[in-house]
Structure formats: C-alpha cells, structure tokens
Amino acid sequence: MVVETGHYALALALAVALLQSVLPLWGTRSGDSGLASIAVPAAITQFLLLGYAFAALTYAHVVSDFSLVTVAENSLTTKPLIYKIAGVWGNHEGSMLLWVLILAAFGAAVAILERGMANELRANTLAVQGWISLAFLCFILFTSDPFVRRFPAPFEGQDLNPLLQDPGLAIHPPLLYLGYVGSSIVFSFAVAALISGRLDAAWARYVRPWVLIAWIFLTLGIAMGSYWAYYTLGWGGFWFWDPVENASLMPWLAGTALLHSAAVMEKREVLKIWTLFLAILTFSLSLLGTFLVRSGVLTSVHSFASDPTRGVFILIILTVFIGGSLALYAWRAPSLNQRSLFAPVSRESALAVNNLLLTTCCATVLTGTLYPLTLEALTGDKISVGTPFFNLTLGPLVALIVLLMPLSQSLAWKRGDLLGAAQRVTVAALGGLVVALVLVAVVRGGPVLAAVGLGLAVYLIVGSFADVASRIWAHGQPARVMLARAVGLPRSAWGAAIVHAGLGVTLMGLAATGWGVERIATAKLGQGIDLGPYQATIENLRSRQGPNYSEVLAHTVISRGGAAVAVVEPAKRSFPARQTTVTEAGIVTLGFGQIYISLGDQHADGSIDERMFWKPLVTTIWIGAVIMAFGGIVSLSDRRLRIGFARRAARVRAAASPAAPEPAE
C-alpha cells in the first residue's frame, strides 16, 4: 500500500512539475504576479511529493518487499540495514529518483530561502528548474520506474553488487548528486536571466552561494569516490581517468572557474556574459556525466544496467537542454549590456587567466573522454586515451595554475602591482624552492618530479596565506591589534586562503606517490617483508562468517625497527547470492602515510600472494579535499555570501534609514 502511494506521489510530482514549468513563466510574461508566484508553492509541493515517493521506496527496501523488481534485484533479507537503505540508490531506478529528489530540494530551497529576490527572477528560475524536473520525471516514469511490481514475488532477493556493499555507498552518491544537481539551480538562474534579459551584479550575488554549495558537495563527493575506489579496488590507485571520473571532474573544473568569474562579476560587473556561459556549461557537463554513466555508453561499476532506450531518452534530454540553453544564450547574450574593461595587471585579469586555464583543463578532459567514442563513430578506428595522456597534458596546466594562485590572490582589484604581489609571495616561493632542492639532494636518484611537486605544494600552502598575512601584519603594532585585524577580515578572504591551501595539501599527497614502495610477493606465514621503513608479517589466516558473506582474513603485524606498531587484516570476502568474491584491502594509517595490503591467491604450502604498498603522505590527498570543502563553508559563512542575504540587507537598510532614497543600482 505504501508503495502504491509512493508511486502515486511520483506521478503527482510530474503533474506539479508541469504546472511549475509553465504557469510562472506565463505569469511573468503577462505581468500577472499571482500566476508567477505559483512557482513557490509548486516547488515546495514537488519536493514534498518526491520526498514521500523516496521514503516509500526506502520503506520497501527496508522491509524487503521483493514484489518490487528493484528491491528483488538489489536486496537480500540478511543484508545489513545500512545497505538496505543505501541500496535504494545502489541501482539505476533508485539513483535517478534520488537525482530528482535533490533537484526538487534545490528548487524548494530557493523558493523558501530567497524571499528577498526579485519576484520575476525567482519565478523564472523555479520555472526552469521545473523543466528539468519534468524531463527527468518523464524519464523515470517511462523508462526507469522504481515502483514496478512483479508477481509472484520471489522468496529471496538477488543481493546488491558486493562492490557496492560498503559505507561509501551511503555517502558517495548523495554527495556527488548534491554537487551535480546543485549546479542545476545555477543553470536555472542563468536561463532565467537570459529570459528576462536582466543581468547585473545582484544576480551574481544571488548565485554565488549556490555555486559554492554545489562546489563544496562536488569536491567532497569526488574525494569520497576516489577514496572508496582506493580502498575497494585493491591495488592502491585512487584516480584512473575513467570516463565516469572525468564526468565528475569536468563540472568541478567548470564550477571552479564559475566560482571565480562570479566573484569578478559581483565585484566589478565584468565577465558577465562569460559567467553566464560557465553557469550553463557547468550543468551541461553534469548532464553529460549523467548521460555517460546512465546510458550504457560506458560500462563500469557506475552503470548498473544498460538499456538502449534509456540512453536515447537521456540523449534527447541532453540535446534539448544543452542545445536549447546554448541557443538561447547565443540569441540573448549579445543584447545584455557588457562592460568588459579591466587593467592588464589586476585581480580581475588574474582571475580571467585562471578561468582560461581552468577552461582549458576542462576542454582537455572533455576531448580526452569523448575522442575515442567520436573517432570510432566517424572512422571506425579505435584508440585509447588514458592516464599518460591526461598526466602529460594536464600536468603543465595545473603547475601553471598553482604558480599563479598565490600571486593573483595578492593582486589588488582594478589596478594591481605585480612587483608588490611578487614580494608578498617571496617567502612562499623561497620555502617551496628550499623544500624541492633539499628533497632532490636527500633522496638522490629519487623521482625529481615528486620533489618539484612537493616544492610547488609548499609554495601553494604558504602562499595561500600571503594575502591574509599582509592584511593582518602591521609593523610595530601589538599582537592584539593584529588579532583584531585577523578577526575583522572578511570570512571570504579566509575561505579563499583555506581552499587554496587545501589544494596544496592534496598536491602534497599526489607528489608523494613518487616515493611509494610496492611489493608483490608470495609470503609465508611468519615471514617478514620490508615495506619502506616498515616490515609486514602475516601471523595467521582465519575465516569468519558475515551476515551475507564469508571471509578469510590474514592477521598481519606491521613493525618498525623490530617493534610492532599496528595490525592489519586484509580479507577476501565471498558473497554466495551473487557468487562473487571481493578483496578487502588491509589499510593502516601511520602518520599521514598508509600501509596497504591486498590478498591474492593462496598456495598449497600455506603461503599467500600479496600486493603490499607503503604510501607516504597518501592521506593528505583526501585531507586536502576536506580542507577545501571547509574553506568553502567558511566562505559561505561570510555575511555577503549567505543565502538570502539580499533580503536581510534590504530589511536592515529599511530599518536604518526609512527616509533615505534607495541607492540607484
């Protein structure tokens, strides 16, 4: 019964989406504000309906209602509760439902939080959000209905893909979707601006917090996915330049560019048209990602089931939205008034260069990802574009970006002073240089690139704070004054510094992979194997029974200089329902590095194949991402960047000077 009401709610949401996508636009066109304001309750209702539908599906998974096809195909009575819940989105149908739920959540958030926004902009934005909802709800109901029943219901389900039975499944997809779909609202803002033909600094101010929110979630989602792949796939890699990963990296690159160009637009009212383009691009790339993953064009753990009709359907949605918005852009953007003036040496021109470099990175990833598909379709020739290509093309670009980051942060708006900026980052540059040189000298014969990378990372981490430091530091002033200045600095300045430093921390971990140690060996019980500064010894093997699997664990002691420092238990798990085995790597964090052990075949004499790694500083790759997200949150807490700021500002202004005329903007 619950399931039927959920299904009904889903259909009802489609009807509401139809209203939301038509009536507000009609209202703003005809000047009927009543009609336009329907957008707000419609967006909220849609969210509630989809929330109910999602809850109903979750209920079916939790009570193991195997009469539902998606539940029967992806669940098992003995599956732990967390995976019953996470399993709701561990399949195509459920994950699409989560997708539209988050879409509706962003719509509802704008409806509720942005009350100070101009009515027309809000109504149009929500209407565009309604179009996206409409398209994807049609997609779900016509090709991927999660509520399809099957009679007679099987007694037992087929269990979830063992690779997905991991806490990562509970966190990674929701985070990534919040990032992907979060960019939809920015897209809707952009299209709304194109429809109304009004685009000013206020628009950038409304949009910035939403860009930032999507960016924070996307950063965390990508990092989480990377760590999940790292500990699950069993050979210690964390980024594979797989098309599915590239699909998440492209909106991240475009979103990062958008974040910066929106800042320029809000501050200086330049780069307006470009910002609009990036807003469209970011969501278009998110849609492309959804298409690549969901259509079955690619096969990977991410594409649960491939079905050509779904692919065609998503391709149509993709074409309509990307093509439509770009056509609208080409038609309307030239008529928006544009002031594109800035000095060659200034913060805004530095940010324009940053945008150029980030866009180049994005274009490179896009070409690399789609080139093999396109070439094969055109000529029938098959080529591969993999890690070496991306490292070779993106490496220099990223190095250039990193070199420029602290410099451009130290430049002033409008008219900067290059020499002054260079002076402010001297300490950082010297620090980085010293670290690189010392490393090259100490680990003679070691990888030079790793030393250079680490030097760059140090430069970036120190340099990120050069700007804040120069704003706090006052010669001869007591510490109290400087502290007061530090507290008084806008949070967005701190946020930017933290985010940039976070990237430096990630870079540190990436560079340190050059010093990693790998051992592939057949180990006998009790035999110690050297692993960098450590030694790994398997003491015994034992088996254990889990809820829906059985496993073999290798009790391994890690020691350093003869003293035991840690114990790891790498395992092999077999899931009878799916007749598959997965390896659970044994990982222990020592300092910022990790020992990583993955089991292979067992031999008759009791020895066992092992792949073992010592990965110095590897955790900083993900710690850096968390720091970046934290910096984003700090920025978001800046009073100018808070959601709904405009409303509060207007209220304050009205209270402070009721008689004063509104400043012309």
């Binding site: 330049w241 800035f342 060659p344 180049t360 070409t367 591969s384 993999g386 075949d601 009791g606």
Partner: protein, 158 residues
Amino acid sequence: MTSLRRILLLSIVLAGLAPSLARAVQPDEVLPDPKLEARARGISAGLRCLVCQNQSIDDSKAELARDLRLLVRERLNLGESDEQVRAFMVKRYGDFILLKPPLDLETAFLWGMPALVLAAGGMALLFGLRRLQSTPAAPLSQAERDRLAAVLDADTPL
C-alpha cells in the same frame, strides 16, 4: 585444530572462489632482474587491458591482462627495447592498446586541443585588454574627489 588442517580448510574455501580471483600483477609473473621488471611495469602501465574499461594491463585483474603482462616480460627477456616491445604490441593489437595515443593525423585535434583553447582564449583576453588601453579612464567627479580627500585625510588604519 592444527594449523595445517586450518590451512587445508582455507585452501578449499579459497579454491572454490578461484575462478573470480584473477589478480593484477602476481608474484609468479615478476622477473628476477629488478631492472627488467621495472621496465616491464613501466611498459605495462601504458598498455590498455583490451577487455576492461580504461585500465592498464598493470592494474587489471582480467585473464587477458595477465597474458599480455607475461608477453611483455617474454619480449623483454628476448632482449628487446621498450620501444620494440610497444611496437610489437601495436602491430598485434593496433593503436587501441596504447593508453597514450600516438600523435598522427587522427589524433592531431586531441593533442592540439589544450594549445588551441589556450591560444583562442588568450587572444580573446588580449583583445579585451587592448580595447581598454585605448579607452582613457573617466576623470573623477567633484563628489568623488571630495570623498577621496576625506578618506586620505582620515588617518585611521584600514
């Protein structure tokens, strides 16, 4: 239970799982000469596992990847150079096997893309800047000049 029996039991358990337990580089593949082995790893990291999704044969668990890894080592043992081994693989499987596509007419656009975007974007930027330099900055209005004077007079740290 003696450890021998336990191991026996485990072996049986593991043997039952054997078919799906193909692994990335296994100890029995490793060449005795560490230098040669390092070269083998280097070459393998650049060759695509033909049946997988964008994985190198060095990382892949597929049976075919294992065969290819052994083939690479076999060729190296014959005394071939890295280039010769790669050329041998390409002759057998086509450019598809190279994770780093060769630069030729078909891939010119792929390799040229970063430079192309940089050049086009850079030109647009420069063009925008030049337009500025030909536009003189507007002089300050009287109100602005007064405000500037007030700001400069007020001797407070900002």
